[in-house]
């Protein structure tokens, strides 16, 4: 079922990446790729290695072996700064927004625009923040001068996503973006994910919710016990098949480890 059927060269390509923590092989020879303008879902049970793969891509826990290509060139990513410089942004589940600051201040946090060499250029920042939010059709925010503490979960997610695409990013990785949201807000975030892909971003979405994934994903990568067991085209598969791969996908023999089947 593993397919790699054309459709443009990948934006990000991991080849045979592995990572172990002491005796624990967290991921083993995983291939993973995302194309520009595509939503790639990353699914798997708890402990399947989703987080380890993401943390390897952004360099928090660099891979032990394997190669990573970005935009066609081989890259070595040693930390989140390297990843950001390449254009890879992660929106973590906890979002990490400063509740006491308004939307504009959060979107520009750490990268404030300065005029006269000293003063924060609030107007330019506000203008740009509105542009980015509008490009994502985020219409539920009344004002970009609202303090984040007063926003709903979906609105916060929207702000965090908008923040991630402000700086020439090409690949946005969303970690469980709908985990804590109600039905209506989940809908908004899924729309947001689709819009990111429409605008040409590569999008990786990690989720446990297959229903959500089948709404937005173009392809689905399944990890199980640290190995990639399948890549599905959404159009050519169904939830049943994905669940089977998550729970009982074929595993390669890992040297030194007994695969628990």
């Amino acid at each position: 079922m593993t397919s790699d059927d054309g459709g443009g060269s990948p934006l990000l390509q991991c080849q045979g990446v592995s990572k172990s923590f002491g005796a624990v092989q967290a991921i083993y020879k995983v291939d993973f790729d995302v194309r520009a303008g595509e939503v790639m879902a990353l699914v798997g049970d708890n402990g399947a290695g989703k987080s380890t793969l993401i943390k390897g891509i952004v360099g928090i826990y660099p891979f032990d072996e394997g190669e990573v290509y970005f935009d066609g060139a081989q890259v070595r990513i040693h930390g989140p700064k390297d990843a950001a410089d390449l254009g890879i942004e992660v929106v973590y589940q906890d979002l990490a927004l400063a509740d006491n600051l308004d939307v504009v201040a959060n979107m520009f946090l750490g990268r404030e625009e300065i005029s006269n060499g000293l003063v924060i250029d609030e107007l330019a920042m506000e203008h740009r923040a509105q542009e980015v939010l509008e490009s994502l059709s985020v219409t539920t925010l009344k004002s970009v001068r609202q303090v984040v503490a007063g926003l709903s979960g979906g609105q916060r997610q929207a702000v965090a996503v908008a923040k991630s695409i402000m700086w020439d990013s090409k690949l946005v990785i969303l970690d469980e973006p709908t985990a804590a949201l109600g039905v209506a807000q989940t809908r908004q975030v899924l729309d947001l994910v689709l819009r990111l892909a429409e605008q040409g971003f590569g999008v990786v979405i990690i989720s446990h919710n297959l229903h959500d994934i089948f709404e937005v994903a173009d392809r689905i990568t399944v990890l199980r016990l640290g190995q990639r067991v399948a890549v599905f085209d959404k159009a050519a598969t169904n939830q049943q098949e994905v669940v089977e791969a998550i729970t009982a996908g074929d595993l390669a023999h890992v040297p030194g480890m007994e695969a628990a089947i």
């Binding site: 300065i114 924060i120 209506a184």
Partner: protein, 429 residues
């Protein structure tokens, strides 16, 4: 607020994309007032408690004590509040970086000020060593800033909570004050000889026109700033406050300042120290509200994790903030010894520390971090000094004064806690 619409977002129209998502807020006066009222109900109280508090103070003491609302007492208040206000500016910076539920505090601030002030007085003693006033001031400010740095390094690099570090500092610096005043002087008392140093807290602008010119400069500057802001926001198509509200705010500032000048001129005039205080308030407000450093201070106080991920060095911000506080402790110490025209073994003792922290909290700075403006130092110092001053005029016993002050402080913290809870509830809803 929280129940978002389920309808699909409308496609942005070609013209007017700018306003497709964001209606320009508060264009009408009534809309603005309604919006502000909703914010107040949601726990964003702004200056409301402090205004109500001042009204109550004026009403109560004005009724009970004939000498409270006099021109002489007004200028006295301006003098009495100054040391508290200067120290409170520094403490506000400290409170702003509070780490979530853990309050950051500087319990040593009063005695650091006392140490700085005492060193200043000792250095200016004629012939012993007889430093000029400016050199003594520089030495004092460098000393207290370095003290702030030392505290900060212990807190950030060694991981000792600010409460414990500065509690130790409280003892150490009170000891240093005793040592300096008892071992280097006769009878634990040194008076200031230098007239410039005495003038800092004792000079008045007795010519009426000086007060008016100063007030006009402040009002004019405020008006230019506000109107310019509205103009450039309009030019960019961003929402603004309605013009009548802006004009009313400018008029309000003008009326208050002109009234203060009229009253002060009926007595000795505007005190020099009040002008110095205004300059410091303006400078630190600028730093906190308009610079990257200020923005990062608020971010560290709001969410250290968010700040860290945004590439901000949380430790560096904390160290810088403790140094700002140390610097302001030095300024406050200079103002304090100048006001007393001397230093002595009980300088900066008594309730000064508590009054400084209380002023910040009463002024509306949150103990939970990330919320509050620098001007709170002025409001808070004014309130706490007015209460103290009023009770002294009425001849209340010390015990009773402590009780009242304690209750006022508790009220301020309660307002902070309740409004924070409301803000949080709204966020989670």
């Amino acid at each position: 607020m929280s129940d978002d619409t389920t309808t699909a977002p409308s496609p942005p129209s070609e013209e007017g994309v700018r306003t497709a998502g964001f209606e320009t807020p508060h264009e009408g006066v009534s809309d603005y007032v309604a919006e502000r009222w909703r914010a107040v109900q949601a726990g964003e109280l702004g200056s409301l408690p402090i205004i109500l508090g001042l009204v109550v103070i004026v009403a109560v003491f004005g009724t009970l004590e004939d000498n409270f609302l006099t021109a002489q007492n007004f200028t006295n208040l301006l003098l009495q509040m100054a040391p508290i206000a200067f120290l409170s500016i520094g403490i506000i910076f400290i409170l702003l970086i509070a780490d979530g539920e853990v309050v950051t505090i500087d319990l040593s601030v009063a005695f650091v000020a006392g140490t700085g002030g005492t060193v200043l007085v000792l250095l200016q003693r004629p012939d012993d060593p007889g430093w000029p006033w400016w050199a003594a001031i520089i030495a004092c400010l460098i000393l207290t800033t370095v003290i702030g740095l030392v505290h900060a390094l212990i807190i950030t690099k060694l991981g000792v909570p600010s409460f414990v570090t500065t509690l130790a500092g409280f003892l150490v610096w009170s000891g240093v004050v005793l040592w300096l005043t008892l071992d280097f002087t006769d009878a634990g008392f040194v008076s200031i000889q230098d007239q410039t140093l005495i003038d800092i807290s004792n000079k008045f602008f007795s010519d009426d026109w000086v007060g008016w010119v100063l007030a006009l400069i402040v009002v004019g500057g405020y008006a230019v700033f506000q109107l310019n802001d509205v103009r450039s926001r309009r030019a960019r198509g961003l929402g603004t406050r309605p013009m009548p509200i802006v004009l009313a705010q400018i008029a309000g500032v003008a009326v208050l300042l002109f009234a203060a000048v009229i009253v002060a001129n009926r007595d000795r005039g505007i005190p020099l120290v009040t002008v110095i205080l205004a300059v410091f308030l303006a400078f630190w407000t600028f730093v906190a509200a308009k610079t990257r450093f200020g923005r990062h201070i608020y971010a560290v106080g709001g969410s250290p994790e968010a700040a860290r991920r945004a590439g901000i060095s949380v430790d560096n911000i904390r160290i810088a903030v403790f140094m700002v506080n140390g610097f302001m402790a030095g300024v406050g110490g200079i103002v304090l010894v100048s006001r007393l025209r001397s230093t002595s073994s009980n300088i900066a003792g008594g309730n000064l520390l508590l009054e400084v922290i209380a002023a910040a909290v009463i002024g509306g700075v949150s103990l939970f971090g990330g919320s509050g403006r620098i001007v709170a130092a002025f409001y808070g110092a004014l309130v706490i000094t007015a209460i103290k001053n009023g009770m002294e005029l009425m001849g209340l016993s010390s015990g009773f004064k402590f009780i009242i002050t304690g209750i006022v402080l508790l009220l301020a913290v309660l307002i902070d806690s309740v409004s924070k809870r409301r803000r949080t509830m709204r966020g989670l809803a």
